[in-house]
């Protein structure tokens, strides 16, 4: 709201304002309205644009006179309000419907205030101004809140975001998490499907033999012979040795392993069949060094 544009010229051209005291301050009748209440008509257009509606205009009228919202001199405020509306219309400004609705409300309150009321009535409930006062206060608190929010330090205006370029993004590899259960469920589905397709039972070798087969393939190479006994770990006990032996047999059956014995009771050597095997196995760095160096 632009106070500079509302600077008063004089009250001389508004003689009706002196007709009656509108307030008594410290016992003195107050006959002069604050001078800055009046706005030169040429400033009116700008002035009106500064209002956010009838509540805002009313609050302005009240605050300019330092009146308490809870104790509005309705008749006086109504008259002032109507003056503005009248001026707006004289200037052929389009008066928004809300202003006229408020004018009607004010007129109604004014007339109700003039009606005598029984003294025993609870005057608070009956105060015709109550609703208006509520709305004025309600609006005023948000008007104030809007100003407060406007005062908050805000990005761009008061605070600035910081950012700096980062080095070339090296996309670290991340992998989804998997639960063992998911794999098992997947496998169960496979089994079901396989049964459906193949019409016969899937048989499974014990996994320990399967695992050992992979392990042995890791130990052996196609280029060098490995002492057969190196495949066994005595500490595993009898069952471990059996598992390894079965794995070796299986590998031989599958033509994955070659076994050589120069003469009866001589040392038995094993090597992987096929040349490409070597490359792949060499790639594995988890091969124990002592076993790799063997043979």
């Amino acid at each position: 709201m632009s106070e500079t544009q509302t600077a008063p010229k004089s009250t001389a051209d508004n003689p009706q304002q002196t007709e009656m005291p509108f307030a008594v301050v410290l016992g003195e009748p107050y006959t002069q309205l604050p001078q800055d209440l009046y706005i030169p008509p040429d400033a009116l257009e700008v002035f009106l644009e500064a209002f956010e509606g009838p509540l805002d205009l009313l609050l302005y009228l009240i605050r300019r006179q330092n009146l308490d919202v809870l104790n509005i001199p309705v008749a006086e405020i109504t008259r002032q309000y109507m003056d503005y509306i009248g001026m707006m219309q004289e200037l052929r400004l389009e008066v928004a419907a809300e202003y006229l609705v408020m004018a009607a409300m004010l007129a109604e309150i004014k007339s109700r205030m003039l009606l005598p009321r029984p003294v025993e009535d609870d005057m608070d409930e009956d105060d015709p101004r109550a609703e208006l006062v509520r709305r004025l206060q309600e609006y005023e608190r948000y008007k104030q809140a809007a100003e407060d929010i406007d005062e908050l330090p805000r990005m761009q205006r008061d605070l600035l975001p910081c950012s700096v370029p980062a080095p070339e993004r090296q996309q670290a590899q991340t992998f989804p998490d998997v639960e063992l259960k998911e794999i098992l469920l997947a496998f169960k589905d496979v089994l079901k499907r396989a049964e459906m397709f193949k019409h016969h039972q899937i048989t499974m070798e014990p996994l320990s033999v399967r695992e050992r087969m992979s392990g042995i393939l890791n130990l052996v190479s196609a280029d060098e012979f490995l002492d057969f006994t190196q495949l066994f770990t005595i500490e595993e006990g009898r069952m471990g040795v059996v598992v390894t032996f079965l794995a070796v047999l299986e590998l031989i059956k599958e033509s994955l392993l070659e076994m050589i014995q120069a003469e009866p009771f001589a040392a038995i050597y094993v090597k992987a069949r096929g040349a490409q095997l070597h490359k792949e196995i060499q790639y594995e760095d988890e091969l124990p060094a002592d076993k790799a160096a063997e043979a």
């Binding site: 308490d68 809870l70 104790n71 608190r141 929010i149 990005m155 700096v164």
Partner: protein, 231 residues
């Protein structure tokens, strides 16, 4: 990592991100086996924060997490980097935003009731385009009007961590309260025993005027007909 302080990592990440990061996101910067506890992160953030005290930066926790920002007292220089001044918002825009912020969820009709004027579609649109306000539901009344609420972006923008940090809203006074005050009728007491919130409303430019009005009101009240005193 080992020898690189956590606060260095956090600073680099916050600056590289250019947006607020949550504690969880900060933890996610580290290998699983090396993830600092949140307590350790907070400590590192505190360190960083005090490092910034002698500099033009600050570390601030807002709704979406922590961010590094240029302090307000630096804006006078730094804002020269941009020719355009930051936008000013109209009163209508700010009032609408304030009502949504304090009264959410709220329909457009309810906003209009409070403001006493219609709310332009443009304002609602631009509040949503800025992502400060969004539709949070529909009121279960005929027409099912949209209800609006503020977003995390709104809080971030206004440097707030949560809605609780919004400026306190002035309290509403019941119209009875004035009568009670008037019955007491002691001017000095009036300002003395007021709660802070009440003072917001009564703290008008000239205190003498407040005092001036009280006897007036009491005098009038004594006549037994309040309404008469108002004209």
């Amino acid at each position: 990592m080992s020898d690189i302080p956590v606060k260095n990592i956090l600073e680099a990440a916050l600056l590289a991100a250019g947006r607020p990061l949550t504690l969880e996101q900060m933890q996610g910067l580290f290998d699983l086996t090396e993830q600092p506890e949140k307590g350790a992160l907070r400590e590192a953030l505190d360190e960083l924060s005090s490092d910034y005290e002698v500099r033009g930066l600050e570390l601030k926790e807002v709704a979406s997490g922590w961010r590094i920002q240029v302090r307000k007292d630096m804006t006078q220089w730094v804002s020269r980097l941009w020719e355009e001044r930051p936008a000013k918002y109209t009163r209508a825009f700010l009032e609408t935003l304030a009502i949504i912020a304090y009264r959410q969820p709220i329909t457009r009709g309810e906003i209009e009731n409070i403001r006493g004027v219609s709310v332009s579609t443009n304002i609602m649109k631009s509040l949503q385009e800025r992502e400060w306000v969004r539709v949070v539901g529909h009121r279960d009344v005929p027409g099912r009007p949209a209800m609006y609420g503020t977003t995390r972006e709104f809080l971030d923008y206004f440097n707030l961590k949560s809605l609780d940090e919004l400026p306190t809203l002035a309290e509403l006074r019941d119209i009875d309260s004035i009568n009670v005050e008037l019955d007491l009728g002691v001017p000095g007491q009036f300002s003395a025993d007021q709660e802070a919130a009440d003072l917001d409303i009564t703290a008008m430019p000239n205190d003498s005027d407040i005092v001036a009005h009280i006897p007036l009101a009491v005098e009038q009240d004594a006549s037994g007909d309040t309404s008469q005193t108002l004209h």
